[in-house]
């Protein structure tokens, strides 16, 4: 039986100059939403991520995986890493049309983007992102 075995998403820091300049240009043009993101980024309370989403499956030719990469995903920095993971899990469904199409191309016929959106996504935060969150936490939430 062809089936999806699991979905994973690995989040990396993706603070490229291009994305920041694009956001700053939108903010300068009067977009208050982007002005808010830029302000939060400059204050250290927002992060820009790259999400590598992968679907592992059992296909006609055996086990395999397909993946997509989603750049420039803005999230709010949180004290607890699982809160950041929660934001990622909600945002990641954007890629599921592409992922479902890739699965169909790989022989996993009976899966739609809506099916994928109902599945659990295992979100992992890359070491450099975790280190940033840890550093931010120590900087912003003094203990002792």
């Amino acid at each position: 039986m062809q089936r999806v075995q699991r979905l994973t998403c690995t989040a990396h820091l993706d603070e490229s100059r291009d994305e920041l300049e694009r956001a700053r240009a939108s903010a300068a043009a009067g977009d208050s939403s982007w002005a808010q993101w830029v302000r939060e980024f400059d204050e250290g309370s927002a992060l820009i991520l790259r999400l590598d989403v992968e679907a592992f499956f059992d296909g006609p030719a055996g086990p395999g995986s397909v993946g997509t990469t989603n750049r420039a995903v803005w999230v709010e920095r949180q004290l607890h890493p699982p809160l950041v993971a929660g934001q990622i899990e909600e945002a990641v469904s954007k890629d599921f049309n592409q992922l479902a199409a890739a699965l169909r191309d790989s022989g996993v016929a009976w899966v739609t983007a809506d099916d994928l959106a109902l599945m659990h996504v295992q979100v992992e935060l890359a070491p450099e992102l975790l280190a940033r969150l840890r550093r931010d936490r120590l900087d912003s939430y003094p203990v002792g």
Partner: protein
């Protein structure tokens, strides 16, 4: 800030209310039924009306846009209101005794002109019951629109929610142009998130995706431009937008 803005004929301000009248009756009603008007330009409308008089039926939005944010059990949702909607902001101060208490915040998205539908207006309109019926229908229409919003906010993918919300809003707010349907409302990502039951980051991500597909883009006046067909199959639209655009 609320400030008096004179008075005018109700049916001049909202001609759809005359839909059930013949020409002669409509003309008479136009002359007889007049309403007091108020401008609303800031976000402090709550409480300005005090406890409503039993004869105060409501306030009819003539122009502009309001966002009614409802906070219950620490969760916030938002309802967008505009021309033709009837609101009763004075009623909300007396809701403390309800089992689930909701705190209401009004936000002015675009400067608003309100018409006061009070006892005098109802009396003068009583000769034409279809006007009163049309005002009642506005309240029902608002509930129906909210129920569609509720369905949209239950869709699994945030991108679908945002796209459908825009098309849903277009029935009330949309203006057809050669480029597509324009919604001239400067709604922020945070406000859209409240309307679709999502977090702000996922709405930002969804809007970036929709912009890349050319389905929803910003206008120079900070409004929104909807391209392509009305999405009867959202999943297909997002998978193959180029195939469906201009269908």
């Amino acid at each position: 800030m609320l400030s008096p803005a004179g008075s005018d004929a109700l049916l001049e301000l909202d001609p759809d209310l005359a839909a059930g009248l013949d020409g002669e009756s409509a003309e008479r009603a136009r002359q007889r039924v007049r309403v007091a008007l108020y401008d609303v330009r800031a976000d402090d409308m709550k409480g300005k009306w005090g406890p409503g008089s039993p004869e105060l039926a409501g306030l009819l939005i003539v122009e502009g846009a309001l966002l009614r944010e409802v906070c219950a059990a620490d969760r916030v949702t938002a309802e967008l209101l505009g021309p033709g909607d009837v609101i009763r902001p004075f009623e909300e101060d007396g809701e403390e005794d309800l089992p689930v208490r909701a705190d209401i915040t009004w936000r002015v998205v675009q400067p608003v002109l309100l018409a006061v539908i009070d006892g005098a207006v109802l009396q003068s309109a009583a000769e034409w019951p279809s006007i009163v019926a049309a005002l009642s229908a506005r309240a029902v229409r608002r509930a129906q629109r909210l129920s569609v919003n509720l369905s949209i906010s239950h869709m699994v993918r945030i991108t679908d929610r945002v796209l459908l919300l825009f098309w849903h809003m277009s029935t009330h707010w949309g203006r057809v142009t050669p480029q597509g349907v324009v919604i001239d409302l400067p709604l922020t990502h945070a406000q859209l998130a409240l309307m679709v039951g999502a977090e702000r980051p996922s709405v930002t991500t969804a809007l970036s995706a929709l912009a890349r597909e050319g389905l929803v883009t910003r206008t120079p006046t900070r409004g929104w431009l909807l391209n392509g067909p009305v999405p009867d199959d959202v999943g297909e639209l997002l998978t193959r937008p180029e195939a469906l655009r201009g269908r």
